[in-house]
C-alpha cells in the first residue's frame, strides 16, 4: 500500500538542493519519534557532502561568564517582578490580590495616624500613634495581623515555589546552567522574603514616616524612637525569616501546590491553639515554646520593650527555640534541594 518507505530513498535526497517533496513534508508533519530510527539509518549510509545537515565541528565556548550576582539577580528578578508584570514568574491571581489587600490593610495604623494628625485628635493619636505597643502590634500583633494577614501571605507565596519545580521538572532549567543549588534556593528564599517585607516592613516604615510627617516630629523625637523602630524592624525580619524558612522547607518536601501553604498555617495556628489550650487548662506555658508565633512574640516583646505576656520562662528560651526551628527548617530545605533531581521527580 505505501510504496514509499524511507529505505527507498536515494542518497542525496536530504541535501539542501533537493526540492521539498511530499515525503519530506509527511515526515516533517506527521513523523513520530519511532520512525526516526529508519531515517538515521539512511543518513549514516550517505556520503558527506557540503551543506550536509549533520556535519558539525565542535567549538568550545571561549566567552566570559557573567558575574555570579548577575545570574542570581536574574532569578530574583524573575520571581519578584512576577507579582506585578507579565512575562515573569506567574504568581496566581488570588495571591496577587491578597497581597494587595493585605498591604492596604496593614497600612491602617499609618492611615489613622495621618488622620489623627490632620484632625488634631489627641485620643485618636493615643490609640494609633507610634509607641512601643503600636510598633509591636504592627509587626507581631496576633489578631488580625498574625492570624489573617502575614501567615496567609507566607502560605500563598511558599506554596509552589519549590514544589512546582519538582513536579514539572523545571529545576533542569536552573541546574543545567552555572547556578549553584545554594544560589537557587537562596534567591527563591530572598524573593519570598522580600515580597513579605513589602507587606510587613515597608508598611512599618510608612507608619513611622506617617507619624513624622503628620505630626511634624523633630529630630529629638526621632532620636528617641528610632531604636524602637529598629527593634520592631528586626522583629519583622525575624518573623519573615521564620515563616519563609518553615514554608520553604515544606515546599521542598511536597510536590503539591497547596500542601506547603496549608502546612505552614497548620503549624503556626495549630501550635498556637494547642499552647493556648494547655495554658488555659493547666496554667503551664511550656507549649508556647513549640509555637513559632509565640516565640517570636516573646523575643519581640523583649527587644521592643513592651509588657511581656509570657512570664513563666525567660525570653532566651524562646530565642533558642526559634533558632532551633529555623535551623531544622533550613537543614531540611538544604538537604532536599541538594538531592533534587534535575528532572521531573
Amino acid at each position: 500500500m505505501t510504496e514509499e518507505l524511507p529505505e527507498d530513498l536515494e542518497p542525496g535526497e536530504y541535501g539542501a538542493e533537493a526540492p521539498v517533496t511530499g515525503q519530506g513534508r509527511m515526515e516533517a508533519a506527521w513523523g513520530s519519534s519511532e520512525g526516526d530510527e529508519d531515517l538515521s539509518d539512511t543518513q549514516v549510509a550517505q556520503p558527506t557532502s557540503t551543506g550536509h545537515v549533520f556535519e558539525q565541528v565542535y567549538k568550545p565556548w571561549q566567552g566570559e561568564l557573567n558575574p555570579r550576582w548577575m545570574r542570581n539577580w536574574a532569578i530574583l528578578r524573575h520571581h519578584l517582578l512576577g507579582i506585578f508584570k507579565k512575562g515573569h514568574r506567574p504568581w496566581g491571581m488570588p495571591t496577587r490580590l491578597f497581597i494587595l489587600v493585605v498591604f492596604l490593610a496593614s497600612l491602617s495604623d499609618a492611615a489613622l495616624t495621618l488622620l489623627s494628625g490632620l484632625l488634631g485628635e489627641a485620643s485618636l493619636h493615643q490609640l494609633w500613634g507610634v509607641s512601643r505597643d503600636n510598633l509591636y502590634g504592627h509587626v507581631l500583633g496576633f489578631f488580625p495581623r498574625n492570624v489573617l494577614y502575614y501567615p496567609i501571605i507566607a502560605a500563598l507565596l511558599v506554596g509552589s515555589v519549590i514544589s512546582e519545580d519538582r513536579q514539572h521538572g523545571t529545576s533542569a532549567l536552573y541546574f543545567s546552567r552555572p547556578i549553584t543549588r545554594f544560589d537557587y534556593v537562596g534567591m527563591k528564599f530572598l524573593s519570598v522574603a522580600l515580597i513579605q517585607s513589602i507587606v510587613v516592613l515597608l508598611t512599618l516604615t510608612l507608619y513611622y514616616l506617617a507619624e513624622i510627617i503628620s505630626l511634624g516630629r523633630g529630630w529629638a523625637w526621632i532620636l528617641d524612637t528610632f531604636p524602637l523602630f529598629l527593634a520592631a524592624f528586626l522583629s519583622g525580619v525575624l518573623l519573615i525569616f521564620t515563616y519563609t524558612s518553615i514554608g520553604l522547607a515544606l515546599s521542598s518536601v511536597s510536590k503539591g501546590k497547596f500542601f506547603p501553604g496549608i502546612g505552614l498555617l497548620a503549624i503556626v495556628l495549630g501550635t498556637k491553639v494547642l499552647a493556648v489550650l494547655v495554658s488555659t487548662l493547666f496554667d503551664r506555658e511550656i507549649l508556647y515554646l513549640l509555637s513559632p508565633y509565640d516565640c517570636m512574640a516573646h523575643v519581640g516583646q523583649t527587644i521592643i520593650g513592651t509588657q511581656p505576656t509570657y512570664d513563666q520562662y525567660s525570653w532566651t528560651w524562646s530565642l533558642a527555640s526559634l533558632v532551633a526551628m529555623n535551623a531544622f527548617a533550613l537543614y531540611t530545605l538544604s538537604a532536599r534541594v541538594s538531592s533534587m533531581e534535575v528532572t521531573r521527580e
Partner: protein, 434 residues
C-alpha cells in the same frame, strides 16, 4: 455476557464498595496521609502528656480560712483556739490552760475542714442550704445578725439566690460557713473535666476535625482531575455525584477509625488518671463518645466542603483558608457565648453543641459545681480551675435539653453535609475535564 440494562443505578453497592476501597488504599499508600495523621497524633498527645503529668503531680490542699496557722505561736492552731474559746492572738491564752487541759491538735485538722455542703433542692428561688462543719460560725462570739450575714433569718447557713432576670444562681455565705473546702479534690475534678472538654473541643473537633479534612479531603477529586486519572473513574456507568460521594466515603474510612482509636486511647488514659473514688471514671465515657462522634460529624461536613472547594475552582483551596479562620473564631465564640445566633451559620458551632449536650447529660450538677468554685477567693487555685472549666463548659446554645440538642445538632450537620454533597456533585457534573 448476559444483556445489561442501560442504567447507572445497577449494583450501586458494588460500585460503592469498589471506589471506597480504592480510595482508602490509595490514601494508605501516600506518605502525606501518614505524615498528617502522625503529626495530629503527636500534637494531641503532647497535651495528654502534660495532663498526665499534672494529674500525677497532684494538687495541694490550701487552708482557705487561715485557721490552721498559729498566729500567737502558742502551739495551738487558731481554729482550735477559736473553737475552745481562747484568744488566738495572745500566747498566754490557749486551751492548755483550760480545765481539763486540751492537747494541741495537728494543723492538718484545720485544713479543708469545712467543705461544701451546698445543694440545690427544688425550684424555689431562695434556698437555704449548707452546714457549718467546724462550728466556727455557731461558736462565733458575736451577735446573731453577724451570724446571719445573708439575712434569711437562719444563722450559719448558705443562701442560694436565683437572679430573677438571668435565671442564674448566686451563693451568699453566712460568716465562716463552708469556707474551707477540699481544694485538692475540687481542683482535680475541675481540671479533669476542663481537660476532657478542652481537648475534646479544641483538640479533637477543632484541630483534628478541621485540619485533617483540609489536608486529606481537598485533593479527593481535584488531584485526580489534575493528574488525568479521573478518566478511569468517569468512563464508567456511574454518576459523577456518586463518584464524589464514594471518594468521600473512602476518605472517611481513613479518618473515622483514626478518631475512634484516638478517642478510645484518650478516654482510657483519662478515665484511669482522673480523680474520683473508683478505679475508672465510667461516666466520662459519655462525653468521650460525644467528642468522637462530634469529630466524626465535623470531619464529614468539612470533607464535603473542602472537596467541593477543590472541584469548583483550581484555586478553591485558597477559600479554605479564610474559612478555617472563621471556624476558629466561631469555636471561641461558642465557648464564650454559646447562645450567639451567628453560631448557627458555622459547622463547628453545631459540632461543639453535641459535646456540650453530652457534658450536660453526664455532669448534671455542673452549674452548682462552677458556682461553688467561682465563689471562692480570686487567684485561689479553686477559683482558677473553676474559671478554666467555665471557659470550656457551655450549655447547648439552642437552650434545649441535652438529648434534644444533640439530636438537633446531628440532624443539622447531616443536612449541611448532604447540602454540600448536592452542591459539590452538581458542580462536578457540569465540569469539563480536559
Amino acid at each position: 455476557m448476559q444483556a445489561k440494562p442501560n442504567t447507572i443505578y445497577r449494583s450501586l453497592d458494588r460500585k460503592a464498595a469498589a471506589l471506597t476501597e480504592f480510595t482508602m488504599r490509595q490514601y494508605r499508600t501516600k506518605v502525606s496521609t501518614w505524615v498528617v495523621l502522625g503529626v495530629g497524633l503527636v500534637a494531641i498527645s503532647l497535651v495528654m502528656l502534660i495532663y498526665i503529668d499534672v494529674m500525677a503531680t497532684g494538687f495541694e490542699s490550701v487552708d482557705n480560712d487561715g485557721d490552721s496557722y498559729d498566729f500567737d505561736n502558742d502551739g495551738y492552731p487558731n481554729g482550735q483556739e477559736l473553737k475552745l474559746g481562747t484568744d488566738p492572738y495572745m500566747a498566754d491564752s490557749h486551751p492548755g490552760l483550760l480545765d481539763p487541759p486540751v492537747e494541741p491538735e495537728p494543723a492538718s485538722n484545720y485544713i479543708d475542714e469545712d467543705g461544701f455542703d451546698i445543694s440545690l433542692q427544688g425550684t424555689s428561688n431562695l434556698q437555704s442550704t449548707g452546714f457549718d462543719d467546724d462550728g466556727d460560725c455557731y461558736n462565733y462570739d458575736g451577735t446573731s445578725s453577724r451570724k446571719d450575714g445573708n439575712n434569711n433569718n437562719i444563722e450559719c447557713d448558705v443562701l442560694l439566690v436565683q437572679n430573677r432576670y438571668t435565671g442564674e444562681w448566686e451563693i451568699v455565705y453566712d460568716l465562716n460557713v463552708d469556707e474551707d473546702p477540699d481544694d485538692a479534690a475540687y481542683v482535680a475534678e475541675a481540671t479533669h473535666m476542663a481537660f476532657v472538654l478542652g481537648i475534646g473541643k479544641m483538640g479533637f473537633v477543632l484541630l483534628l476535625g478541621l485540619f485533617l479534612p483540609l489536608f486529606l479531603a481537598t485533593g479527593l477529586i481535584r488531584d485526580e482531575m489534575s493528574a488525568g486519572t479521573m478518566h478511569y473513574m468517569l468512563a464508567k456507568p456511574i454518576a459523577r455525584t456518586e463518584v464524589f460521594l464514594y471518594r468521600i466515603l473512602g476518605y472517611l474510612g481513613i479518618v473515622w477509625p483514626y478518631f475512634i482509636v484516638l478517642g478510645v486511647i484518650f478516654a482510657t488514659i483519662s478515665g484511669f488518671m482522673g480523680p474520683g473514688e473508683g478505679v475508672f471514671r465510667f461516666q466520662d465515657l459519655g462525653v468521650w463518645l460525644a467528642i468522637v462522634f462530634a469529630t466524626m460529624m465535623a470531619s464529614f461536613v468539612y470533607g464535603m466542603l473542602f472537596c467541593t472547594m477543590g472541584v469548583m475552582w483550581r484555586y478553591g483551596i485558597v477559600l479554605a483558608i479564610p474559612f478555617a479562620a472563621w471556624e476558629l473564631g466561631m469555636c471561641l465564640v461558642s465557648m464564650g457565648a454559646p447562645e450567639a445566633a451567628i453560631l448557627r451559620f458555622s459547622v463547628i458551632g453545631w459540632a461543639l453543641m453535641i459535646v456540650d449536650a453530652a457534658a450536660v447529660l453526664v455532669w448534671p450538677n455542673m452549674d452548682l459545681f462552677l458556682l461553688k468554685g467561682n465563689s471562692m477567693q480570686d487567684f485561689s487555685a479553686i477559683k482558677s480551675s473553676a474559671l478554666a472549666l467555665d471557659f470550656f463548659y457551655s450549655k447547648p446554645g439552642i437552650g434545649s435539653s441535652g438529648l434534644v440538642s444533640s439530636v438537633i445538632a446531628t440532624v443539622v450537620l447531616l443536612i449541611q453535609g448532604a447540602f454540600l454533597w448536592f452542591i459539590g456533585g452538581a458542580i462536578f457534573k457540569g465540569k469539563e475535564i480536559e
